[in-house]
Symmetry: C2
DNA sequence: CTGAAAGCGCTAACAC
DNA sequence: GTGTTAGCGCTTTCAG
């Protein structure tokens, strides 16, 4: 508003070119090149902190000053150094995301949604791939925490005591995802895998299926779905379940092989529940290769709702999960926490949808 | 935790517990909590720089000292602050990767390979999703450069002048990927999309196909493949090519719709080349839905070599790309550059493989 | 092999 | 509104 005492005068050299002058007078163009805040400040004829404000809290600066500074920034091609900024402010504007893999599109889409939302808020995502089973989650976490992320997203709810300790010590918001538990570390966005298993079982039994096959990856969440599935079947008096496990995350090929194993074993299921759509697709392929009609001879149910399952075969049903919702909610919850706001829903059950494609 | 002055002892105590002593004597446990290098040094009875050396250049330190320091680190639960370390050393140990999306597994797998290899070397990956078409690659890049990455991976070879300028100014190794050009910014790992198009055309023509359909996403690389495809066909005297474009990256559904559009338009191709396996899968599905035999009535060729294409249908041929090789090579090249070594092969053509599944 | 001094580039508090 | 003064936590010289 007010053109204070020494009005920058809108372009044109600042009154006091260098103030300090003597005293140390560290040369500007050090050596390493990179333009610094000081260089910009000097060119604009303002103090460094003013440049910083123009960048981070422009509402505290006069429109005139902003313009002069912006001009100087453009002229110099200045790129802020967030390592320095983060160190000084203790806010890295970085969020870490630990997932087993991103080749499995179920995680990839959630990460994308997370990245998009956080990006809008000025945050970036540091990717940590822990592999299956969360091999060195501990080491990975240590490496990641040294970047001082402002928040962290984890996959699953089972973490080593060491991991939990470090997470707590870091004092940053933690979002566990893809599962539910009564004892989350902090925030939680997921759904009940056991319920998924039960819902699928009830559904299939209701449709008249009686002999079940289970093709599952061996990760903890797939095991929970299996548990729910088997339990619900037992409640219906069905105990005839033939299962075949493969290493997570499970591929189409493994799905094929798994069904082959079951069939070659002499068991003849009338329905198969798979731990991913890729595997369901494999089962479907193997079934067709063997001349089995789907869902006539064999019903196939996947998990994850990949795009292709929606079009590949009218008989390929699946359990739909809103992957993007998980990423979005995780981002929102984390941002709220970081900003010090109260998180409306620290725990969110995003649920699931049974998508039935077979008209049988 | 705070055995202050009296050195922890425990196999030999340090001679001079605190040297400086007077002079400033800033309290250790500031407030914000986080254990610092100084805390560890104090506990171990050594100077901060020694702790730093134990962590970064242990070969310069005595085995005894290392042990004492390691002990102190474990005791305090110290986690290095890489923001500070990066600022001081001018090496962030961070590498940025810009890709359009990771939901498309072709990129996801390359990123995984990159992350794995870089992780071994102590680097982490900052993920940047630019979207299709590289919407705000410029802004994204600016945001990313403020983290002072030690290297950066880009997707494609077409970048705005502004992007190139910034990249050059950053003075860090740049790896362009997924394509080839005689004028790379720095390092380059890819293959010729035009050659892919030509190879596919020659292959199909050689097999006797004459009426071609093209189902492609509209990204620059898919356009190059199309160009090569059309050019090679022209060389064979074939000009009858009906194409249908969709927004990148292209989904299975879009593949279905694209073929539907072509067929409904009255054109009856005997072979269709798609810009991704997902789309090829869609085309295949639509063909089957319409009662067309594949490859009897219609040959379908994809691109990318996704897992499912290998098993879905014996007629679904594809162009195989070694996705992991791209990530691996990118990591190696970048590491070499960062370490100041000479990069053996600044430009690598990883080639492609025509994977034929149809026995027709 | 170990240490002291001096920042890396930026921002939090306070002054003015 | 804008400037001054101190560091944030670590590593870089350069001494011993």
């Amino acid at each position: 508003m007010s053109h204070t005492d020494p009005p920058p005068g809108r372009r044109r050299g600042a009154a006091r070119p260098q103030a300090a002058g003597a005293e140390g007078g560290r040369a500007s163009a050090r050596s390493s090149g990179s333009v610094t805040l000081d260089d910009v400040a000097r060119l604009a004829g303002v103090s460094p902190i003013t440049v910083s404000r123009v960048l981070n809290r422009p509402e505290l600066v006069t429109a005139d000053t902003i313009e002069v500074v912006r001009e100087a920034i453009a002229r110099t091609g200045y790129v802020p150094n967030l390592l320095a900024g983060g160190l000084a402010s203790r806010r890295s504007r970085l969020v870490a995301a630990l997932v087993p893999t991103i080749s499995h599109s179920i995680f990839a889409e959630a990460i994308e949604a997370l990245t998009d939302r956080l990006g809008e808020a000025g945050y970036q995502v540091l990717l940590g791939l822990s592999g299956y089973p969360a091999a060195r989650e501990d080491d990975l976490l240590a490496a990641i925490l040294s970047r001082r992320p402002d928040g962290i997203l984890l996959t699953g709810i089972n973490h080593s005591p060491e991991t939990r300790r470090r997470l707590l010590a870091a004092k940053i918001p933690v979002v566990e995802t893809w599962d539910l538990t009564p004892t989350p570390i902090d925030l939680l966005i997921g759904f009940s895998h056991e319920k998924v298993g039960r819902a699928v079982a009830d559904h299939l039994v209701g449709k008249g299926y009686r002999r079940f096959g289970l093709v599952g990856a061996s990760d903890e969440r797939a095991l929970k779905r299996r548990k729910g599935f088997v339990a619900a079947l037992a409640a219906h008096g069905i105990t005839e379940v033939e299962s075949s496990s493969v290493p997570a995350p499970g591929s189409l090929r493994q799905g094929r092989e798994a069904l082959a194993r079951i069939l070659d074993g002499g068991f003849r299921p009338d329905a198969v529940f798979c731990s991913s759509d890729a595997m369901a697709h494999g089962v479907l392929t193997e079934a067709q290769a063997r001349g089995l009609s789907v869902p006539g001879d064999l019903a196939v149910l996947g998990f994850g709702n990949l795009d292709f399952s929606a079009h590949t075969h009218p008989a390929l049903s699946t359990v739909g999960i809103d992957r993007q919702a998980i990423g979005r909610h995780a981002a929102e919850a984390m941002l709220a926490r970081i900003e010090g706001e109260t998180v409306a829903e620290p725990v969110i059950d995003v649920g699931f949808t049974l998508i039935e494609r077979a008209s049988t």
